[in-house]
C-alpha cells in the first residue's frame, strides 16, 4: 500500500435493520453503500452531502462508534475496522472527533478542565500534575485561559464550547481528526475564528482531517479534495478545484446551484 495514504476507506457499507414497524416487519436501510476514498497525511478531505446522505454515519464508522457492515477502514497502515477492547482504545488515541455541538459532549455537573484531561488519565499517559499542566497548555492553544479550567460547560458561549471540544480532541495528540459540521451552530464571526484555529493546529501538528459538512464554501476553504455523497454513494469525488468548479455529476451541480453568496466585490 502506498504510504502517503493516511486513511483508506475501502468498499465501506452500513446497513441498519429497522424492525418493529407495522406488524413487526423488519426492513433494511442501506445508509452507506460501498464507498471508497483515501486521505493523504496532513490533508483535509471534505465529505459533502445533504441530510440523510450517509456522511455522518461514515464518520462514525471511522471513529469506531458504529459497527461496520462490510468493507475496510485502514488508518496509518493498520486495519481499524470493528476493533474491540484495548485495540479500539489504542486506535482512539490516534483518531479523535469534534462534533457540531461540543457542549452536549461535556458533563454539565463537572468542571470542564478535568474533562478535557480525561483521556490522559484514561490512557494513563501521564500523572495528574502533568495532566493538569497539559490541559492548561491546550486551553491556551485554543484561545482560552487558566481561569476557564474550573468552570462548567453552561458558562461558555457556543464558540468557546467548540474550542473546548477541539482542546479535548487534541489531548491525546491525535494524528487524525474527524470534524462533523464543526461550525454549523456558530455565528459567522465565531466560525471564522474556529476555522482559523483548526488550520493553525493542522499546520503545526501535520494533522490529517476529515471534514463532514453540507456547506460547500467551507470545503472550498478547508479541503484539497472532497467527495459528494448522495443516498449513501459517491456521486463524485476528486480535487476541490475540479469538483466545485467543474462538476461532472448532477448532484454536485444541484448543490452548487443552491449556494447563495454575495457576489465577489
Amino acid at each position: 500500500m502506498p504510504s502517503d495514504k493516511f486513511l483508506e476507506v475501502i468498499d465501506l457499507r452500513k446497513v441498519f435493520s429497522v424492525s418493529g414497524g407495522f406488524r413487526n416487519k423488519s426492513a433494511d436501510v442501506v445508509a452507506v453503500d460501498d464507498i471508497s476514498f483515501s486521505i493523504r497525511k496532513g490533508e483535509t478531505w471534505g465529505l459533502i452531502g445533504e441530510s440523510g446522505s450517509g456522511k455522518t454515519t461514515t464518520g462514525r464508522m471511522i471513529l469506531g462508534l458504529e459497527h461496520v457492515t462490510s468493507g475496510h477502514i485502514v488508518v496509518d497502515g493498520h486495519e481499524t475496522t470493528n476493533l474491540t477492547g484495548e485495540r479500539m482504545r489504542k486506535m482512539r488515541q490516534k483518531v479523535q472527533v469534534v462534533f457540531q455541538d461540543s457542549g452536549s459532549a461535556f458533563n454539565p455537573r463537572l468542571p470542564v478542565g478535568p474533562q478535557v484531561g480525561a483521556p490522559l488519565r484514561r490512557f494513563k499517559l501521564c500523572d495528574a500534575k502533568e495532566a493538569t499542566r497539559r490541559v492548561l497548555e491546550l486551553l491556551e492553544k485554543v484561545g482560552l485561559d487558566e481561569s476557564h479550567y474550573d468552570r462548567y460547560i453552561h458558562e461558555f458561549s457556543g464558540g468557546q464550547r467548540q474550542r473546548l471540544g477541539i482542546a479535548r480532541a487534541l489531548t491525546t495528540d491525535p494524528e487524525f481528526l474527524v470534524l462533523d459540521e464543526p461550525t454549523a451552530a456558530l455565528d459567522v464571526s465565531v466560525q471564522a475564528q474556529v476555522l482559523n484555529l483548526l488550520k493553525d493546529i493542522q499546520e503545526e501538528r501535520d494533522l490529517t482531517m476529515l471534514l463532514i459538512t453540507h456547506h460547500l464554501a467551507l470545503v472550498e476553504h478547508m479541503c484539497a479534495s472532497a467527495g459528494v455523497l448522495y443516498n449513501g454513494r459517491f456521486a463524485e469525488q476528486g480535487p476541490v478545484d475540479q469538483l466545485l468548479h467543474n462538476p461532472q455529476s448532477e448532484v454536485t451541480k444541484k448543490l452548487l446551484d443552491a449556494v447563495l453568496e454575495p457576489k465577489a466585490a
Binding site: 455565528d187 482559523n196 499546520e203 447563495l260
Partner: protein, 281 residues
Amino acid sequence: MLEIKHLSVDFHTDGGVVHAVKDVSTTVGEGEIRGLVGESGSGKSVTSMTILGLLGTRRAKVSSGEILLNGTNLLKMSQKELVKIRGRQIGLVSQNALSALDPSFTIGSQMIEVIRLHQKLSKSDAYEEAVRSLERVGMPDPPQKLRAYQHQLSGGQRQRVVIAMALAARPKLLLADEPTTALDATVQKQILDLLLEINRDLGTAILMVTHDFGVVSHMCDSVTVMRKGRVVEQGSADQVLKAPEHPYTQSLISSVPKLHLDDTARTVPRAERRLHVFQEA
C-alpha cells in the same frame, strides 16, 4: 408601509436591565424585501417580534419609539386590536415550522381553522381554499397533504405549509424570521425562491430576518445591519454588499468562507488562507 421609529426594548432580568434593542429605526415599503441582518444577540429577532406584539413577557418592555403600520402606531394598540393585525395585515413565518404546527391535528384542520378565522367561508369552501393555497406554495398533492400530520412531512414541506397559512389572509407584509436555517441548502433555495415568487405575484412586502448575507444578495432590495441592539448600517442591498461602510459589516461579509474566490485570493495556497476576524475598535 411599515415604519419603525427610534425603537428601544429592554428586558428586566434578575441580573439587571438588558437593552436588547437600542434606538432602531427602519422602514419596509410596499412590495419591498428588507433584510434584517445580525448575529445572535444583535436584537434582530426581538425587533421583529416587537412588531407583532409577541414579546409577551412581563420582563420585556418597549421603553421608547413607535412602530407605524400605514400610519397607525402598533405599540399603542390593545392586544384585542393587535389580534386583528396579526395574520390579517402581517403574516409570520418562523424559523421552526415544527413548533408552529400542532402535532395532534392534521395539516388540513389547522389550515381550515386559520382560513375561516380570516374569511367567512363554509368548511368545504375553506377546504377548497386550503387546496389552492397549498398549490400556490408548490406543494405536491395538496389533498393528501391536508390529511397528513406534521410529522409525515419533510422540513421543506412543513415550511411551505407555514408560508401558506401565513398568506391565508393575504397580508401586505410578511415577517420571515430565519425561515430556512433548519433546512438543507437545496431546500433553502426552493423556499427562498417561493418567497420571491410570492413577493412578485402578490406584492407582499417581506421583512427577512437572517444572519446570512448570501440570503440578502439573493432576494433583498434593502438591508439593515444590526449589532448589539443597534443599527450599524442600512441602505440598498446592492450598495451595502458592494461597498459596506461600517467595519463590522465589512467583516461580516469577509469572515464567511467563499465558494467563489477572486483571483488574488485564489493565489494564496489553501493551507495559508485565513478568514478575516472582526476586532473590536
